[in-house]
């Protein structure tokens, strides 16, 4: 029967997978990519995949990128599905970003800050000209090193808080919410919101953050500080009872400083939006900080008018793995529902014709 052909069947699925595998490898005359090459030379892609998968593992992220042929959302999905199957040993202690081994640190709100401004390995001031010399792959000349080791670099937010200019964050007592284990309920608390943003789609965060700068949820942000560098991760194993160092990870942290006009009960002060991302990810951390601040609107008594200020809207649509699944599920067969719609349309048209004939 003709109709059987449109229904997939196991053989079609197997053939599709085989074809995909062949296409993934590409021309066998060209050497295959190693995960080491991806992790070492496509670091920004690896960091984005780790963030959106919410799993810090550069090698597995590189494998996912290779398996996904560079489709970073697909790679994040592969890595996140793997993450779900992992046992959990415990939670890390809060990271001390104030004690970061800083590679980059800039503040846009002070000409100079204690510890100094450090540009670090940024592309900010490169001219965006295609560099054809990369085609020949010459080794880059060695980058100059600072002669003196940098001094202590307190976080700019800490300096503002000390003066009372920045609204203090009350320390949380309860263990933080965990969006990977518990369903999100709205209104979501800030810890849950930050987690949702931390693994949100970078393009979505960027677009929504951008919208706040264009008047959709007016904020007046200043980049208080962006710092990037290695931070020690510590855990307290149950059997030891004291913290041990289990390694370090590179993070970008952003504090956006926004004006808050104050209320009847509170004098005016600045408020902060917070962003944190794996690796060197200014764009991601800054967009996250803009959104974190925008989503505090209701709590600060500001009018909630724009999409970026609506936590339910932002968090329900930021996850690219949920979004891509649901958008792409439209290619699954829907012919039963379509059939019922078609019958309904025919019925309505017949009724209209009958009425017209009367």
């Amino acid at each position: 029967m003709a109709y059987v052909a449109v229904k997939g069947g196991e053989r079609a699925i197997d053939a599709a997978h085989a074809w995909r595998a062949e296409a993934r490898r590409g021309d066998p005359a060209i050497p295959a990519l190693s995960t080491g090459q991806i992790a070492g030379q496509l670091g920004r892609a690896v960091e984005r995949v780790m963030a959106e998968a919410s799993l810090h593992d550069p090698e597995l992220a590189a494998l996912a990128i290779r398996q996904a042929e560079g489709d970073l959302i697909e790679a994040a999905f592969l890595l996140r599905a793997f993450r779900t199957t992992l046992p959990r040993f415990g939670a890390a202690l809060p990271l001390e970003t104030g004690r970061m081994a800083v590679r980059r640190r800039i503040s846009a709100i002070f000409k100079d800050v204690p510890g100094g401004q450090i540009l670090g390995p940024t592309t900010d001031y490169t001219h965006r000209l295609l560099d054809f010399s990369l085609l020949d792959d010459p080794p880059p000349p060695p980058a100059p090193r600072a002669e003196d080791p940098p001094g202590p670099m307190p976080r700019v937010a800490t300096l503002l808080e000390a003066e009372g200019l920045l609204r203090p964050e009350p320390p949380g007592e309860a263990p933080p919410f965990d969006i990977t284990r518990e369903p999100l309920a709205h209104p979501a608390p800030r810890d849950a919101r930050l987690q949702g943003l931390a693994r949100g789609d970078e393009g979505f965060l960027l677009g929504m953050g951008y919208s706040t700068q264009r008047g959709y949820g007016g904020s007046h942000p200043f980049a208080g500080e962006i710092r990037m560098g290695a931070v020690t991760v510590e855990i307290i194993p149950d059997e030891l009872g004291f913290p041990i160092d289990i390694g370090e990870i590179v993070l970008t942290e952003c504090q956006m400083v926004n004006q808050f006009h104050g209320s009847r009960t509170e004098p005016a002060s600045f408020t902060a939006g917070y962003g944190l991302a794996f690796g060197q990810a200014d764009r991601r951390a800054m967009a996250m900080a803009l959104l974190d601040r925008a989503m505090q609107a209701a709590e600060l008594g500001e009018a909630v008018t724009a999409p970026a200020q609506n936590p339910e809207f932002v968090l329900a649509h930021a996850d690219n793995i949920e979004a891509t699944g649901f958008v792409e599920h439209l290619k699954l067969p829907h012919y039963v529902d379509f059939q019922s719609e078609a019958e309904a349309v025919r019925r309505l048209r017949a009724a209209a014709r009958a009425e017209a004939a009367e």
Partner: protein
Amino acid sequence: MKGYNFAYLDEQTKRMIRRAILKAVAIPGHQVPFGGREMPLPYGWGTGGIQVTAAILGPRDVLKVIDQGADDTTNAVSIRRFFARVAGIATTTRTAEASVIQTRHRIPETRLRADQILVYQVPQPEPLYRLEPSRAAARRLHALAEYGAMHVRLYEDIARLGQVAISYDYPVLVNRRYLTSPSPIPAFDNPKLHRMAALQLFGAGREKRIYAIPPYTEVRSLDFEDHPFRPHRADAACALCGSRESYLDEVLTDDRGGRIFVCSDTDYCAGRAA
């Protein structure tokens, strides 16, 4: 399967899901939030149904998976193979032989028994989402049983078109309390929900909700006394088995308007044609 627990999910997760299922059974039609996990299938492709199935499967279960009523549609094949691989259980295409049936968009034509469980894949568990996009607000409406807006939608259809124009995912009131989405089954299937002998479980993975209709529960499709709910099917007979009772798929056979109708439930059709 090596490296994975029976039926993929770890036992702790299964227990969490079973607790949600028990709560769902205790409050028929009420959406219970659960800590949905990422599955190795995309969201929207049955991750909720798969998690429910994974949490209730035992080694002696016999699983049937259908999509659009058919066992051989690609996604049904893919999900059946997933469970055969990660749980090593027996699978079947025969409705009568299955102890667990996972479905997308249909209820089998064959009457289900009390020793069977029907697991629905649900893309959008919130029946009010088109009227009230905020889930926080919708939850309040459920708590207060404030469903006037949904009736207004039916009223508007009748006022404008002379009849209710919802043809699938037709809202139902479960146990006279909760307004519930039956998942995108054709309205034709709605009467089968009512007082079904089998336990009906609904899993929405992306939206992280589970709900249930316990056996023999009253399920009413919303309607008006003077415009009672009416299930519809194509006015034709199956080209393969001749059925005039089953739900039919329409298959275009050429580009000159040629078409045939065949049963959407492939097992039912094969059983009759044999």
